[in-house]
Each structure stands twice: as C-alpha cells, then as structure tokens.
C-alpha cells in the first residue's frame, strides 16, 4: 500500500503556494466535514487522483493518528512538493478555518445575553451529539460478525464513556491486546 502512496503523482504537480491555496479553498467549502469536498475537488474536478488512488490515500491517512483530513492534506502535499508541500497543504487546511472559528467564538461570547442565540446553540448541541452517536452505530454493522471486535468496542466505550478513564491509558492497554488477540486467531486458523 505504501508503495502506491509514495508513488509519483499522476497529473499536474503543484507548488507549495498553489497547494496552500487549494487546501484553503477546500477547507472553506467544507461545511460539516471537509472529506466530501476533498473528494469532489481532488478526484472529480482537478483529476489529481483516480477514485481508487483516493481510496488508498484515505486508508493510509486513517491508519495514522490525527485528523484524517489533515493527514490526507499532508500526503497530497508531500506527493506534489515534498516537505514544503506537506506543510503548505496542512497549513491551508487549518489556517483560515481557525480564524473563522475564533471569530464565531467571540460572536457567541458577545451575544450570550441574547436568549435566542443561547437556545439555538443548545438545540444544535443536541443534534451534534446525535450525529456523533450515529456514525459508530453505522460502523457497528461491520463488526457484527466478530464478537471479539464487538467486545473490544464495548470495553473502549465503557472505559472512556462511562468510567471516564484517560484515553491514553485505555488505548495503550486495549490496542496492543486486540492486535495480539487478532494475531492469535490468525495463527490458530493456520
């Protein structure tokens, strides 16, 4: 997989400044999630990647820690213009949205006496919580065949959600354990 990821770019090669501008544009159009917008721009409009290539890049970006969209920016930037490209792309991805988010935050602070703003945000918060609950419920279908995976998903939920244990502790314990269990199963089948 990594072979594909580091392979040469198929289409045009962009410089750091162009990458910065492209990813700034992407991020600003990505209301409620940038990934769909990234797909539209990089695959459908710019034709920088085929669907297959994009899927490979995405899988690679998800495997690494950190926000998937930021990792994807780094990878695309690196493939175009090396380290400077990677840095420029991720800077474009977070720079402008960061300023916007702060301005919205200030607006919220200033308008806190306004009951209506307050109520609207309360409603939006309840919806935001629902959106996050729905995503793992969709993914649980993928795990259903495997009770060990379900068990570990349950353990992770209980540890962090109910017991409020530190995430670091939970991951350092559960991740190696699950990798080990998976390895055992594979070996057992041989």
């Amino acid at each position: 997989m990594s072979e594909d990821v580091v392979a040469a770019v198929t289409g045009e090669r962009l410089g750091p400044l162009q990458l910065f501008l492209l990813f700034t544009q992407l991020s600003l159009m990505g209301f409620g999630g940038v990934l769909p917008m990234a797909y539209r721009f990089l695959v459908e409009r710019r034709k920088m990647f085929t669907i297959r290539e994009f899927g490979d890049l995405l899988g690679f970006a998800q495997l690494l820690p950190g926000a998937t969209i930021c990792n994807l920016s780094v990878i695309v930037g690196y493939r175009n213009a090396g380290f400077a490209g990677g840095a420029a792309a991720v800077a474009g991805m977070v720079g402008a949205p960061m300023v916007i988010v702060i301005m919205l935050g200030i607006a919220y602070q200033r308008s806190q006496e306004l009951v209506l703003v307050h109520q609207a945000l309360a409603g939006m918060s309840s919806v935001a919580a629902g959106l996050i609950i729905a995503i793992p419920l969709k993914l649980i279908g993928e795990l259903r065949k495997n009770w060990i995976d379900l068990l570990f998903a349950g353990l992770a939920f209980i540890a962090v959600g109910l017991l409020r244990l530190p995430l670091l502790l939970v991951l350092v314990t559960l991740l190696p354990l699950l990798i080990l269990v998976h390895a055992r199963i594979v070996n057992g089948k041989r």
């Binding site: 990505g30 209301f31 919580a129 793992p136």
Partner: protein, 179 residues
C-alpha cells in the same frame, strides 16, 4: 492574569500534543471526552457549557471539525491558547505522517499495516460512541433535548441528508424553546 493565561496555554498545549498522536481512527472526535475531562472536570478552565459551545460552533463552521480545540484554547487562555492548542493537535500527527512517508515503504509492510487497521476500527467505534455519549450527557438536560438527539440518530441512520440541515433544524428547535 496574563501570566496565568500563558501558563494555561502551555499546559493545555502539552496535554493536547500528547493526545494528538493517540487520535487513531478518524481524528480528534474521539479525543473530545478526554479533552472535556481535562479542561472542564480536572482543571476548571472552561464550563461544560463553553466546551459544548466550542464543539458545536466548530461543527457548524467550515473546516476540520477538530478545530473545536482552537476554541477550547481560546476560551481557556485567549489567543495564545487558541494558537497553542491548534498547533498541538495538528503538528505532531503531521510530522508523524511526513516521517512515515519518508521512511522506506518496505518498513511499513502492508500486513503489519492491515493488522493495526483491523484493531483500530473496533476501538474507534467504541471511542466514538463514548464521545457521542459524553456530548449527549452534557447537552441534554430535558426530555426535549434528549428527543432531539434521538431523532437525529434515527434520521442520520436511515436517511441520506446533509448533516448541516439537521444542525439547522436543531437551531430552529432550540429557538422555538423545544429543548
């Protein structure tokens, strides 16, 4: 005051930098409960309400959703807090990604990669559920708001709808005083 804020900014930045490389399986969303625990429960830099506001504003705004840490930093320690928090969450994983790209492909063998991937998925499902649960517990104080969360889950599971419409509907429901 200035110095106290600066101190908060660095402590928050350090914590987020350590967390950032733990954000497996999709991003900073799974970090939300731990960040909430750290800034609200442990250090009392933010109220629960301010944390929720930060999260919700970042979801509604353009750009990566994980930029809620920018606002958490802003509310906890002003501009320095916002910049430090953002850099802390973005830079370490970016460096790691570059390092992996730079490493010879042979070192990241596909089998090892897929084994990690297979273990990450179940955990990220559980952790995302934990995030949703923590957010719901913080946001839903009435039957109305709990119902709004439940309806959102249902709609998202069974209808293909841009999440922004749901968030807009939530804003309207809130203004009408239903939550």
């Amino acid at each position: 005051m200035e110095n106290a804020d600066d101190n908060v900014a660095w402590v928050l930045g350090g914590h987020l930098a350590a967390l950032s490389v733990m954000a497996f399986g999709g991003g900073a969303i799974i970090l939300a409960p731990d960040i909430q625990r750290f800034v609200v429960d442990v250090n009392h830099w933010l109220s629960n309400e301010a944390f929720l506001a930060a999260y919700t504003i970042a979801q509604a705004a353009p750009g990566p959703n994980m930029l809620f840490v920018t606002l958490v930093g802003w509310y906890a320690a002003g501009l320095l807090g916002a910049v430090t928090a953002t850099a802390a969450i973005v830079v370490p994983p970016a460096i790691l990604t570059l390092a992996v790209l730079r490493a010879s492909p042979a070192r990241v063998s596909p089998t090892r990669g897929s084994m990690i991937k297979a273990a990450v998925l179940p955990l990220s499902v559980g952790l995302m559920l934990a995030t949703g649960y923590s957010l719901a517990r913080a946001a839903d104080h009435s039957w109305g708001s709990a119902a709004l969360t439940a309806v959102t889950v249902g709609v998202f599971l069974y209808r293909k709808l841009n999440p922004l419409w749901l968030i807009a509907a939530g804003a309207v429901a809130g203004m009408l005083g239903w939550v």
